[in-house]
């Protein structure tokens, strides 16, 4: 179990970080997912752990997102704005042609722009993209992890790719 969690913890953190845009919240979500897997499913075969862990983590992220939506509505009513809302362009730095930017800096900028663009996607599109493109789950596995139909996964994924291409620009990367 420890080896499995060690293998997935960084990716899990990045998943949660992209969704929450907050280190502490992301760490809490990953810790809850790890604890749930260890307490409830430690006795299952190792082959079952990856889909179970993804399912637990995605559910935790979705719950967090719902709570945030409610919280943001209250804040909006009281005129305090939303968490982390800013107008920073996702293209900042990505399409810069400044020669001073070395390759490492350009990658960092591109990485930040990608993270912002992913964060701004609707949650289900974000999940579908990350699970399919990054985690390389197939459609059926992604559907199980997200708790939806395979058709929904295909739709969310296609829309995510379309939006990312539009937001990040035709020349990215």
């Amino acid at each position: 179990m420890e080896r499995f969690l060690g293998d997935v913890e960084r990716r899990a953190f990045r998943f949660a970080r992209i969704a929450t845009d907050n280190d502490d919240d992301a760490l809490d979500l990953v810790q809850e997912a790890m604890m749930t897997l260890a307490q409830r499913y430690a006795n299952r075969s190792e082959g079952e752990w990856p889909p179970l862990f993804h399912r637990i983590l995605q559910n935790r992220i979705r719950d967090w997102y719902r709570r945030k939506t409610v919280r943001d509505k209250w804040r909006h009513w009281f005129g305090r704005g939303t968490d982390g809302a800013d107008d920073e362009s996702v293209l900042q730095g990505v399409q810069s042609s400044e020669p001073a930017l070395d390759e490492a800096a350009a990658r960092r900028h591109a990485g930040k722009a990608l993270e912002r663009a992913l964060h701004d996607l609707p949650l289900r599109q974000q999940q579908a993209f990350l699970l399919r493109a990054w985690e390389e789950l197939d459609v059926a596995e992604t559907a199980r992890a997200m708790g939806c139909s395979e058709g929904s996964v295909k739709t969310h994924y296609a829309r995510a790719v379309q939006t990312l291409r539009r937001v990040l620009g035709e020349h990215w990367p």
């Binding site: 913890e9 810790q31 790890m34 260890a38 990485g111 990312l164 990040l168 990367p173």
Partner: protein, 115 residues
Amino acid sequence: MTDQQPERARRLVAAAKDLLDDQLTRLDQPIVDRLRRARREAVEAGPKPPRRLWAAGLAAACVGFLAVSLWIWQPAATQPIPDPEDLEILASAEDLDLYEDLDFYSWLADADVRT
């Protein structure tokens, strides 16, 4: 156009994957430490002991037994049979004050008889 779109999508996905993998290697050390701590806590917590379903079942059976016992052994219902006279009083539209002071009127009637 239709050939270019999947190709562009493939390039975007490949680049995104590359960048996301790259970011994994650049996590801040405090975050890596907290992840390690969380992992160890989860492993040490281990699986929860199986729920004691038999205890819950026993408790439910006891409650059921008690409920059935009370239902069976309760004294026979002793609903008072309504007195026709009461019914008459309740059905009448007369002022109920008369019946509330019935003792007084009985005494008055006796007093009239004696005088």
